[in-house]
């Protein structure tokens, strides 16, 4: 299958606007030192997004190196599991981003950004990582292009994702432990931004989610939009129409935006994002930013945010390191306020059950992040009528999580 790797700009409504705003969300809340670098990045993106040579190189690498297009897989036994006694019920499809090189969707963005960085003449790459998937993807493309790579990772995440730490180091990246704050993704992101403030003149920051200051939410979304673009073509090929419901997990929200973007202007398609409820949204241990947060500013963007009544950012909690983030990409906040997308949350326990169920029914071990999206089927399917087609973004594979799950099942 051949598709263009980048979305077209012809949509009537431009998001974000020229100031980097999605409605009231987004913007550039960063130290002055970074403002020129953000402008340079935006200019480079606008220049190369329509450059045939850039697009051809990206397209070829996405195909031959990443392994795109990823399949749209009909999950027959999951479908049977949720079928009503009369045989009707949701038809469940998985968009197999877990089959990408390095095991998750993250490489779509890391690869495209490294191609931009190369063209901007940057010699050094930095990135933050939570679950380690973005770190691995970044380390991978830096190895492929011979660039120096430093990955910031919270000490707590380094422990629960030790396999990914090993992979990054194997590929020549320096993994820099971050012990400040809570030692998770939030702190790793802060540390990466501090590095960028210090080394901005020779360094490109490959931000890994649709978060951060403009233009990152736009760039990262566009580099993942290939997920939705392929999905549209595959749906057309399989049943000649659109999907009815799209379902994806949301931490920062990159895999969800990548799937949703192509369909935001298709009102018949329901968009559902699933956040981590951790030990429950009524406890202090969750990461349900969109459903429990208030509007604030974190890591350069205005968006929903978990914060206390003094405006201090709260520690998030999730069994999944990739969802363990108190902020969320600004476009998700916009889609929520516009009531274009719906956001719900599932607990650690529900995600674990979905993790096992998917392994046992489909022979697919999903990432714990992805398992949150799958877990929402328990709530969603009984509410549906007829046999709607649901596409779940199977954003990553779960090999990295087996230690965490094994430990949890023992406790």
């Amino acid at each position: 299958m051949t598709t263009t790797p980048l979305p077209t700009q012809s949509q009537a409504e431009q998001r974000p606007d020229t100031l980097g705003r999605f409605g009231r969300f987004g913007g550039k809340y960063v130290p002055e030192t970074l403002m020129p670098a953000l402008s340079q990045l935006e200019a480079a993106y606008q220049q190369y997004r329509n450059d045939p040579e850039f697009i051809a190189e990206l397209q070829q690498l996405l195909r031959d190196y990443v392994g795109r297009a990823t399949p749209l897989y009909f999950a027959e036994r999951l479908t049977a599991h949720y079928a009503r006694p009369d045989g009707t019920g949701a038809q469940i499809y998985l968009k197999r981003e877990d089959l990408n090189h390095t095991g998750a969707h993250k490489i779509n963005n890391a690869l495209a950004q490294v191609l931009l960085a190369k063209r901007m003449g940057k010699q050094r790459i930095i990135a933050e990582t939570g679950a380690g998937q973005h770190g691995v993807a970044t380390a991978t493309v830096c190895a492929r292009f011979g660039l120096k790579c430093v990955i910031y990772m919270g000490v707590q995440d380094m422990e629960r994702q030790s396999l990914n730490v090993f992979r990054m180091r194997l590929m020549g990246a320096e993994v820099s432990p971050v012990s400040t704050g809570t030692g998770t993704l939030k702190d790793a992101t802060s540390e990466a931004i501090r590095d960028w403030v210090t080394n901005v003149e020779n360094t490109h920051y490959i931000l890994g989610s649709v978060a951060g200051p403009h233009p990152y939410p736009m760039i990262v979304r566009d580099f993942h939009a290939v997920i939705g673009i392929e999905t549209r073509a595959q749906c057309l090929e399989k049943w000649g129409g659109l999907p009815d419901i799209l379902l994806a997990c949301v931490g920062g929200g990159s895999n969800a935006m990548g799937l949703f973007h192509e369909f935001v202007n298709e009102p018949s398609v329901r968009l559902i994002g699933v956040e981590a409820a951790g030990e429950g949204v009524n406890t202090e241990k969750h990461a349900a930013t969109l459903t429990q947060g208030r509007v604030g500013v974190l890591h350069g963007a205005m968006s929903y945010l978990l914060q206390n009544d003094d405006g201090q950012v709260l520690e998030a909690h999730s069994i999944s390191a990739g969802l363990d983030y108190p902020g969320v990409g600004p476009e998700h906040s916009y889609l929520k306020d516009q009531q274009r997308a719906e956001y719900y949350s599932v607990t650690d326990e529900e995600a674990l059950a979905a993790f096992k169920r998917t392994a046992q029914l489909e022979g697919i071990i999903p990432a714990l992040e992805t398992a949150h999206a799958i877990a929402y089927l328990d709530t969603l399917c009984p509410q549906l009528e007829g046999s709607p087609r649901i596409v779940i973004n199977c954003s990553g594979r779960g090999d990295k999580d087996v230690q965490t799950v094994a430990k949890h099942l023992q406790d």
Binding site: E32, H299, Q307
Partner: protein, 265 residues
């Protein structure tokens, strides 16, 4: 209460370069913060920057990050910081400038926040994660309420940006002397004199230089490059935190005097 602008006017008439020391409120505790304000005021400070501790201080290096974490662990809240300012500021010569990140301001509501800090006796505000493009919503109401919002220029800022920032900044222009976060450095960035000249070509407003200045000799160089004020943070925060509060207060008093001596004739 003196405004920042008035303070600079009086310093300029005497040909004096201002010393602006920085401390983090609540580290090691609020009682020491109150005492430290008085000590610095009596040891040559012309204005004092008071850092409000924040959970995610993006522009700060390890020393001030650690100070903010300690202050938050002790439960320091904005209300308490303002209470200290309310209590101490009438006894100080130095106007107080709050250094704080944008989210706690936004969280409180911009106008409410500005009114509260004005009532407490704060003269000015530095928000390190609020560049010019996002600052308008703060600058206008602040002007009405009488809080001067100081904007920052960085070594990476283009001439166009420098001009626009210099025009909008109130009180003075804060020149970030290094490409980087706050923290002690052994050498001053070579670009500082050139940057000062560039800013000067656009504005008569006072220019304060900060980030990375940690010794009297560096302070002297900054002054000789034409700065109107020298801002010293981490080197003071570290001295205050390294010892018992009593010893820390004495150490910052002596250090502040040595900085002042270095930038005086």
């Amino acid at each position: 209460m003196n405004s920042i602008s008035d303070c600079f006017k009086s310093l300029r008439s005497r040909g004096t370069c201002a010393l602006i020391p920085f401390i983090t409120a609540g580290d090691p505790d609020l009682e020491t913060t109150a005492k430290a304000l008085r000590v610095l005021d009596g040891a040559g400070a012309d204005m004092i920057e008071l850092g409000v501790p924040y959970s995610d201080p993006l522009a700060d290096g390890p020393v001030i990050q650690a100070a903010a974490s300690r202050a938050l662990q002790k439960g320091t809240r904005l209300e308490q910081v303002l209470e200290i300012v309310r209590e101490v500021s009438p006894t100080l010569r130095s106007p107080i400038i709050l250094f704080m990140y944008y989210n706690p301001i936004l969280n409180r509501g911009i106008e409410t926040f500005l009114q509260q800090i004005a009532d407490a006796g704060v003269a000015g505000l530095v928000v390190p994660d609020l560049p010019l493009e996002e600052a308008e919503g703060l600058l206008k109401p602040a002007q009405k309420i009488g809080i001067e919002v100081v904007l920052l220029v960085a070594p990476t800022s283009s001439l166009e940006r420098i001009e626009a920032i210099a025009r909008a900044s109130q009180g003075f222009i804060y020149l970030v002397s290094v490409t980087g976060v706050t923290g002690m450095r052994s050498q001053m960035e070579a670009r500082v004199p050139e940057l000062l000249k560039q800013i000067r070509s656009y504005t008569d407003k006072p220019i304060g230089v900060g980030f990375g200045i940690s010794a009297p000799e560096q302070a002297r160089q900054v002054r000789e490059s034409g700065a109107d004020a020298v801002i010293v943070g981490s080197a003071i925060v570290k001295r205050l935190a390294d010892e018992t509060p009593q010893a820390g207060l004495q150490a910052i008093g002596e250090f502040c005097q040595s900085l002042k001596a270095a930038i005086s004739d």
